[in-house]
Symmetry: D2
Subunit: 237 residues, 4 copies
Amino acid sequence: VAGRGGVVQPSVASISATVDLAADVRGTHMSRFVQALAEYQTVLDPRACAALAEHLRDRLNSSRATLTLEFPYFIERTAPVSALPGMVDVEATLSVVAAESTEVRVGVRVPVTSLCPCSREISDYGAHNQRGHVEIDVASPWPAGDASGIWIEDLIEVAEASASSPVYPLLKRTDEREVTMRAYDNPAFVEDIVRDVAVNLRADVRVASFRVRATNQESIHAHNAIAQVRWARGSEQ
Amino acid sequence: VAGRGGVVQPSVASISATVDLAADVRGTHMSRFVQALAEYQTVLDPRACAALAEHLRDRLNSSRATLTLEFPYFIERTAPVSALPGMVDVEATLSVVAAESTEVRVGVRVPVTSLCPCSREISDYGAHNQRGHVEIDVASPWPAGDASGIWIEDLIEVAEASASSPVYPLLKRTDEREVTMRAYDNPAFVEDIVRDVAVNLRADVRVASFRVRATNQESIHAHNAIAQVRWARGSEQ
Amino acid sequence: VAGRGGVVQPSVASISATVDLAADVRGTHMSRFVQALAEYQTVLDPRACAALAEHLRDRLNSSRATLTLEFPYFIERTAPVSALPGMVDVEATLSVVAAESTEVRVGVRVPVTSLCPCSREISDYGAHNQRGHVEIDVASPWPAGDASGIWIEDLIEVAEASASSPVYPLLKRTDEREVTMRAYDNPAFVEDIVRDVAVNLRADVRVASFRVRATNQESIHAHNAIAQVRWARGSEQ
Amino acid sequence: VAGRGGVVQPSVASISATVDLAADVRGTHMSRFVQALAEYQTVLDPRACAALAEHLRDRLNSSRATLTLEFPYFIERTAPVSALPGMVDVEATLSVVAAESTEVRVGVRVPVTSLCPCSREISDYGAHNQRGHVEIDVASPWPAGDASGIWIEDLIEVAEASASSPVYPLLKRTDEREVTMRAYDNPAFVEDIVRDVAVNLRADVRVASFRVRATNQESIHAHNAIAQVRWARGSEQ
């Protein structure tokens, strides 16, 4: 997979591929999906996925093909004080609908820290916090010949900026102190997180539509707290 | 399932049942497992599971049968200040090995809150905390005719007493304040939690051996922290 | 949960409940969800779920509430020749959107046997077959005071009738012979299964719209074969 | 990961790493695990994993460290008649216990086809078959300086040879005919599969002990059929 800036990393994807079937055709040629994937030996980015989905549509004589790749994607992350390096993994998704036109979607599921504003406000000391994750799924034009679309890295940055703190692979004591106090200084409900992400994505001209969902693995409950926003440019939703 | 005190609750279990096969026998009679389970219409507690495993051993002409039931188990939990009621669900396990003698094991997976002692100590304010879970699996004699063994409820109480706080289904603002401050007052590493559980279980004569595992869904990392202790009465381990 | 014919069975559900949040409101009252569920002590059927979702909408002062329950649902199934009884479990879903009007959806995920028509046709003997599952999700009006909507049992029957054979909890040798040959006599691609289900559902006036998906855990591949149809009454889709 | 023959493939692993903690030490240095992994930039094979586990043991001042890597591992597989190429993925495990001595284990989970001997025998035509998987976990010495241990590829070959047929990523009609009839010609219960694997592994001097488990996703039931054998050289088990 090629990331922003052109750096390539290997990954392992779960792949879902479909075609629409005309009413008068009994079944599809399932082996052609596998054959097309086996033959496709190219570095993947959103535009390459779009080309592969268009190829599936044509090869299987269909009016519409979809392709979805889900894979772990790694980014380097240095500790905030000690600057020790490590890797954070994010679940990333590239999905394409190739019909008359081609729609490309880029998605991430980013682990974050969130700290509860209510708990902080009502308590003499402490505040409950927890691991959560922010899922963003964006439709973004990736016109051929021009790298103007959204990258996985862009979405990770937006997600982490809206939470109480990013998570880190490696923290020494000085780092842990920094992260603990930063989270306390940036409390956020899941409702706050999705709204903050939404404001950032609306302002980005590369974004045609999005779905944002924040989930907290509440540390004081056994159930999760979830907030979600959907939006499409040109429509109020 | 019958709980401590005899209260019965319905649940839905995943069941695993096996028998040992002699070297000169080609295969087992798989349908007899299903038939035995379908015919067994009794309230389950550890002793009833032991009887069912012994029945499987005999019915399938084997020297050894095992039976494991995994099921959600609900307990009532009132909020600490408002006293509003709700239900907490715990993953419970009853497992039996019926060979020359019969061993009964009772297990739970209890969600809890844990707050990091290190983070609290090194920070001017706040402390990272998270949802975690404590798994306890205990071998406990359940001699016929005398209800002297370990109950699921016993293990839940031990697990929760060792964490920074139990989790609650329902918390109003006054409750949330109480739980936030209680967790801050009771910091515990996963290592502390399993050792505390171990001390309690060793002191309980109904316990023949145990495995305890505590897992934190670390709020500042994307990985989990895990601690584990194994012990058997009469052996140092 | 109450089934068709009024028979009630206990089950354990995963519940998702949401409300829409007005733009000028910071957050919702999460504890009210739990409180409403804890107080709701009624036998559930689709209409009772609709009432609960409407109650959530009103209690949380929202314009729109959703409620989804996922739970195992058991039906009795006798073996085809020996007539020995057993239980089959189906994953069932009841979901409601309560806005200006209330939409009720009933869903199932039914395990089935499918046998490949192509494999049978091209081979001198044998035919690959496998476990698969048929998912059906139906929007069906459940007007108050009249039990005219779709039941879980209705959808199970439609799903099983379209596959090569139902699965059975308990089969003796005479039963296994019957099921083996029945599957061979009723080969079906996943495409055939979803189309057959679709024909049956369109003919049912209680069905407003549906999504049908059949998945084969292909026995000759490590990947699955999937087919899907969507349809809404009054629109060609 | 380096495979048999020295070919290297990138993969993405879930990693579990532990150390034993002395009774008088409160906790471990969790960040050192991550640091050791982040610094370890080497092609992995069983011997390199052993070295990493020994490094963890020393770096964390412990008497015993364990390391487990679970990752998808790909092998090329050509169709049996058309010879078209594709990739099969296997779940592989490398695990090490580094104490006074170091034990290395290699594991696989291989998807296969199994066809029921009983169903074939009692039916006039057809036989139920299904996807299953064979799990093998082998302790094998990997002495430094000599590549004499068991490789992932060795275990895959043993697993597939014992089933009714391997699975294939890509099959044209002529291939499907071949695989259908081959499975019919090689019926095997899960009990047969594990015994056949066991015979092969006992005869391999590189194998010190093993656990073999075969699981069928029974096509006529909603439950699975499972068989398991354990064995250690020098002990009857």
